[in-house]
Amino acid sequence: MAKEITKPFTGIGDLLSKLNSESKLLTEMYHYRTRLEFSYSHALELASSEKRLQMLIEYGILHRDGDNLEIDELFLRFFEEVLQSSEDISNATVEENLTKLQKNIEYYQKEQNNTEGQRYYLRMIRRGLVVIGSMVRRNVVTLKRNIDDVYKTIGNYATKRMRLEEYMQQLRSISLLIDETRKILKREDTTFRVMIPDERLLHIIAEVHSDMQFAFENVIELERVIRDYLHQIDVQTRTLKKIRKLKYLKDMETWRSDSDVEAVLSRLNAVWMEREYKRRIKPSLSYITTTTEGISVLEQVQKILSKGRCDRRVAAPPLGKEQLAALKIVEDIVDTDRLATAFMASGRDLFDFVINYHYETPQPLDRRLEYYAEIVQGYLGQLRFTGEWRDYEQLRYPIIYAR
């Protein structure tokens, strides 16, 4: 878009020094920017010299329109955006500006025969368009930042959901404003063409068009983001609820019957569920037998195996019930003292008594003879030897009685 030819700045230093040199004038003009009537003569009073003022116009910082002066839209937008970046989102002001714009267009059309009046309303229209463009743009950017913040920082699901839904509403109203603004811009054919051909107005219209396009694309993207976030919140809430419920059922030990966890898990054979991740790979025989490393491995194995054999303690099998039960041990012992006492009282001869004694367990003959000899030795003083001998089978024995 062709603009008035302006001198270029040589660098940022040049730009800053030029702005700084007339800071008093620029500050005043910025404060009165909404009145749209800043006379050249008033500016001259504030400027350090007319030459300086002309210089600002030459460099395109200011525009002269008849007797009036304005700050260039580019600079104005920069000042506004930097100075008002923290402004809250308010679609109401955009709407207000939009109504004002529409009214100014109407007034302009009514001032057909009054060039001065038309000029005034043209300035208003230009200003209105710039304000709407930058406001919508700024609102979208702020909204984008807020949406991200809310999603990432607010922990409470309910609040988060409500905040995001509010933003969704704001997006819808911004999108309506974009539509409205575009409709007005489209009326270029019917409305703006009948206006005085104005390069700057055409330039502003193109700028606002691109602002609206930027805002429109972002609004669509943000709506998608919010829907996505809302969906994620729903999914997360559902999942969270399910995890807690599942944990509750598990702790109650009823999850096998109260949920289909068994059916789901039986379909899954993931490796992570396996207790041990052992892999058995058979060693290569040729590696073991032909390399020095392999041989040393064999030697180590041999060592471990032989050590194991020495140290091995085979535990006895556990004792059975029968083995643990208390047992009576019967010792087959004949008490020769008691036998002797019984003999003393019997009055029979010793040999006959010992051989024919009624033992609890039957005793063999040689054992009975042993008892006979033991009594003879042990009780010699209490015995009476008769000197008579008798035969018993192949044995000859003396007849002995008690005294």
Partner: protein, 182 residues
């Protein structure tokens, strides 16, 4: 298939590979698998593994189960305990989120529910610090979490964590609204 051995060694131990991993080697592995998914799948199928792909993660499973249902339930049960604890700590927990042990411990001290949850995660003889340490270790071992900054002790939840939530979402539980979420 440049990283067959590394991928096999990692996945056959029951670990997961994540798309959002910060480890450079694992990033290469993941990328290589995605670029040659069918080749990898065919190869691993021949040695008895099924290479499974989820939203941002890869893992191994088998055609035939190597463990019985009771074992599966007990393994999964351990993860439900851990998951319930982490979700109590941070209800919005999801892949990409960062955690530190110290912050978890601070919250345990000020949150009765969390304190109750942590006691159920480990034996009563262990301190909260040991239990949280064990929890982080298990998460890292299986690949649901990564240590991203050793100095600040910052861990990042990987996209493999989605697997846990995916399983939970497969399960149907009766919805009687017994436990309301605020």
């Amino acid at each position: 298939m440049k990283y067959l051995q590394q991928i096999y060694e990692s996945l056959s131990r029951g670990a997961f590979l994540s798309a959002n991993t910060t480890r450079e080697d694992a990033q290469n592995w993941y990328k290589d698998v995605i670029d040659n998914l069918e080749d990898y799948k065919c190869f691993f199928a021949k040695i008895g593994y099924r290479l499974e792909e989820g939203t941002g993660y890869l893992y191994f499973s088998r055609k035939e189960a190597r463990q019985n249902l009771t074992d599966k339930l007990s393994r999964f049960g351990e993860w439900i305990d851990r998951l319930a604890f982490l979700k109590s700590y941070e209800p919005t927990l999801c892949a990409g989120m960062e955690l530190t042990k110290s912050k978890v411990l601070v919250k345990i001290d000020s949150d009765i529910e969390l304190k109750d949850c942590v006691r159920k995660l480990g034996s009563s003889t262990k301190s909260d610090e040991e239990i949280v340490g064990d929890l982080f270790d298990s998460m890292v071992r299986i690949g649901f979490m990564e240590l991203v900054n050793e100095q600040s002790g910052k861990y990042k939840i990987t996209s493999a964590y989605n697997y846990l939530e995916d399983i939970v979402n497969l399960i149907t539980v009766p919805d009687d609204g017994e436990q309301e979420i605020s």
